[in-house]
């Protein structure tokens, strides 16, 4: 029983129009998964380690960039003007 990959490879050879489909759908799925993983691991709203790092949202720096892109902001230039706890 040939594997799924070999079956698909054979179909691609006779239908090359499917290649862009794989690229766009595969790329979209990959980008979504990467963003989801980034949110899970780097978002300060998420707490994985309850012993050592229970509340990461309390450790936000004023100069740290948490979002994926910035259009006009340069976070390193922000000053901290809030009182410390």
């Amino acid at each position: 029983m040939p594997s799924m990959l070999q079956v698909v490879g054979k179909q691609l050879k006779s239908h090359p129009a499917l290649v862009p489909l794989f690229i766009f759908i595969g790329g979209g799925a990959a980008m979504s998964m990467v963003y989801l993983a980034r949110l899970a691991l780097k978002n300060p709203d998420v707490s994985w380690d309850r012993k050592n790092n229970p509340e990461p949202w309390n450790k936000l720096e004023p100069t740290q960039q948490y979002k994926l892109f910035t259009i006009n902001m340069d976070y390193s230039k922000l000053k901290k003007d809030r009182p410390d706890f």
Binding site: H15, A17, L68, F69, T70, I71, N72, M73, Y75
Partner: protein, 230 residues
């Protein structure tokens, strides 16, 4: 405010709303292009004398009509994400105002330096003076200095409301027990209207929001006057 039978957006007063207008023009143009193309294809299909009963597939056209829509979607997504991130940027507001939703009026608190607060009720239709707008005018306007970044903290005292001013591109839900923040810059002076945008009971349609953007010296005289009256 909107003029009678207006279909499109109101003119932008804040830079973010300008960006939203440009994006809307861009996306709507793409939508019109697709619609016209589809309509043209339908007309061609119906009015053609050509017929080939033996076509089964074609790799070239399949490739084209996979790649072109994907590119179109990317061309829509990139400006959209740009505006999304632009709207979330940290700004440095000069003034913070709290807008609290009640049934059925808004109350504004300017507590940055002194205790300034007031309620803003709709002016009933029978009390309007000539030239005023029906269902849009309020007895006390939220006065702000023009060209200054303003932060608005929005909440509610009883049920859900929503603080919306279309010309500034702002709509933010007023949730009891929750503080929502939004910010804007009024790039030009004027009077800007909005209406409560979350169903909140009998007079939901009768609790408008009126913002008056004035030069800074006028704003300062207004705050002095309001504090005296209190």
């Amino acid at each position: 405010m909107a003029h009678p039978a207006q279909v499109g957006f109101q003119d932008a007063t804040s830079p973010l709303m300008e960006e939203l207008l440009y994006f809307h023009d861009h996306a709507l143009m793409i939508v019109f292009l697709i619609s016209v193309m589809v309509l043209y294809i339908i007309v061609c299909m119906i009015t053609t004398n050509l017929s080939d009963k033996l076509i089964l597939d074609s790799q070239e056209i399949e490739t084209i009509w996979t790649v072109l829509p994907a590119i179109t979607l990317i061309l829509i997504a990139l400006p959209s994400l740009r505006i999304l991130y632009l709207m979330d940027e940290i700004n440095d507001p000069h003034l913070t105002i709290k807008a609290m939703g009640h049934q059925w009026y808004w109350s504004y608190e300017y507590t940055d330096y002194e205790d300034l607060g007031f309620d803003s009720y709709m002016i009933p239709t029978q009390d309007l003076t000539p030239g005023q707008f029906r269902l849009l005018e309020a007895d006390h306007r939220m006065v702000i200095p023009v060209e200054s970044p303003i932060r608005v903290l929005i909440s509610a005292e009883d049920v859900l409301h929503s603080w919306a001013v279309p010309t500034l591109g702002i709509k933010m839900d007023a949730v009891p027990g929750r503080l929502n923040q939004t910010a804007f810059i009024a790039a030009r002076p004027g009077v800007f209207y909005g209406q409560c945008s979350e169903i909140c009971g009998a007079n939901h349609s009768f609790m408008p929001i009126v913002i008056e953007a004035v030069p800074l010296n006028h704003f300062e005289s207004w705050t002095a006057l309001m504090l005296e009256e209190a």
